[in-house]
Subunit: 343 residues, 2 copies
DNA sequence: ATGAAAGCGCTAACAC
DNA sequence: GTGTTAGCGCTTTCAT
């Protein structure tokens, strides 16, 4: 193995100079810099990551903290984050928070601190519901490791934390407007997990759009859900059993919307003629339902890219604060919506 | 930060003893082992990976080389790998091979060597189609880093490489048998990507089952595909347009099977009464089609777990060769298959 | 069975 | 602008 000292000897300088060149530090003459670079190339020098990070406490590693749910949301953001890391010469490391760990406050804190200590990432990316967990918040503040949250939150940006998201409320508002414009009046809403702020934000957009159209929210048309297929199926079945079922259903994400469509199929209800269904996310399933799903496109890959870019540029320019970003969404009209049969 | 020396002082021993306990080395009395463990817990000790790997020349890192397709297959295996890493105290790092990189032999080699050098993983996990790429093969052999392939391959185990998979051919054989037992005679097969050995293995199982039932393969019923939804949709549409369409379709994976079901919906063909459809993988979509898909369950998470376990135990016992494994599959009967209307 | 000392490869802190 | 010294937290080696 070629060490820094070997490069130094080859170039006839001290190892500190080689270190300066490696880290692009100032105070090295250009000629010398060149000589050192040549020596590195000639010897095929590859720096030891462990030695560097042991000494400097930097790791060139971004950590993605994922919960054990393998959602399309997380996977797509992960993909964007990976692309960005690759481009910037960073490593992407994954860490898994089990449900058990999430349940105990003490356990979460220990796990979280341990993970950060042992991995020593330069920054990390958080997803709901961890992103708005107060324990996580405290640890972030104390350990001073930069954290980017993905998705909407009611947590303000901190000294070491920021958020990338779309405007969930506005998107839900516009989606609801679309249904209203088609002539729907009985529009049901299926909520997601209550520990995720997206649920609230999307519900508010829905409620406000109804209000602005002169309608009030009918509580019986607002059902709980858990963001997964089964809960959408369940809610759909319950809605369709009613004496006066809704003419449209807005599910807080695509997985649940897929469940509602399935419920309609089973009940022999035609989508979209008898029931319009819309979702949120534009995940892969949205194109594979029959009919294809009208939904809100979140730029998931771009969210991942933005999170990593924010972390890395904050690291490189110590005076700058971590930057939050709100990316544009898009309402995607497909075939799961139509005017109601009668209004 | 709590260091090993702090634990040692707390337990009233030397740091070497703590090190022995940490690494599960022999020559420590059980009582003492227990005392040290307690001290670790009390102080919330987390070993520094960089220090360990600097000294021991192990990185405690496994690298997952993923292609840019975010398939359910890769994601689920990744999840298993992550779980296993977490349990063993390893880190999981992701690396992304772009399609562009894969195309040029020279480019792939450079990228691959650079990635391995800079990440210095103790081992890595490969997916199709990289797993059977000869360039990758060469680099693995030269750099002597352990590699586990996930999925079936026609590449023999090497000095530093092995495979975890199910018996794809046998699984396809049994799936085809199921269709034959229902009374189907015109069974179509949709192939996957040709650079993935799974395509061939599954086709062979299909062909052999037909042969053993005294039927011969009708070439017109074997269609190309690319493992994705669209190609299944396309193949399904072409098959259903025929004068004498098949009574059953075996798609080489679930995504394509989902496409076939979609094609049937669009053509007004009833599944399973008019057309039986089966897939392969038992990915999440299999439960979300209507009707739910009969398929082959691959233990994807377990494949990931097995890959990591193999890598880690080979690392810990230098004399042992990397172990290959063939895990059990399961034929999952759901509602997309039935006897043909007339035979 | 346990401990003391040395040092892995690198960079922070300070000297010149 | 460049070099010297010390030491990050751990495991190796050797002693007891």
């Amino acid at each position: 193995m070629v060490r820094m000292i070997d490069v130094a000897r080859q170039a006839g300088v001290s190892s500190k100079t080689v270190s300066r060149v490696l880290n692009n530090e100032p105070h090295v003459q250009d000629a010398m810099r060149e000589r050192v670079r040549e020596a590195m190339d000639r010897l095929g020098y590859v720096p030891s990551i462990s030695a560097r990070s042991l000494r400097s406490r930097k790791s060139f590693t971004i950590m993605l903290l994922v919960h054990d749910v393998r959602s399309a949301f997380v996977n797509t953001v992960q993909f964007g984050a990976l692309r960005a890391c690759q481009e910037l010469g960073y490593h992407l490391q994954l860490a898994l928070v089990s449900s058990a760990t999430l349940e105990s406050e003490k356990g979460l804190q220990n796990w979280f601190e341990g993970t950060l200590r042992s991995g020593q990432p330069d920054g990390f990316v958080l997803f709901p519901p961890m992103a708005s967990n107060p324990v996580v918040e405290r640890v972030v503040a104390r350990m001073k490791i930069a954290a980017m949250r993905v998705g909407p939150h009611n947590v303000p940006d901190g000294e070491h934390s920021a958020t990338v998201t779309i405007d969930d409320k506005l998107a839900a508002y516009q989606m609801t407007e679309h249904l209203l414009e088609l002539g729907h009046k009985r529009i049901a809403f299926i909520r997601g997990k209550e520990d995720q702020f997206a649920t609230q934000a999307r519900y508010e957009g829905y409620a406000q759009a109804l209000g602005d159209a002169g309608l009030s929210v009918d509580k019986r048309l607002v059902l709980p859900g858990t963001f997964d297929f089964e809960s959408g199926l369940d809610a759909g079945e319950r809605l369709l059993k009613r004496k006066t079922p809704p003419t449209a259903v807005f599910a807080a994400n695509d997985d649940m919307a897929t469940g509602v469509i399935m419920a309609a199929h089973r009940a022999g209800v035609d989508v979209p003629k008898d029931l319009s269904v819309v979702g949120f996310d534009d995940s892969e399933v949205a194109l594979r339902t029959w009919p294809a799903l009208t939904t809100v496109r979140q730029p998931l890959e771009e969210l991942g890219v933005a999170a990593v870019n924010s972390l890395v540029s904050a690291k490189n320019t110590p005076e700058t604060r971590l930057a939050s970003a709100t990316l544009p969404f898009e309402i995607i009209l497909r075939n799961s919506t139509a005017a109601p049969r009668e209004s």
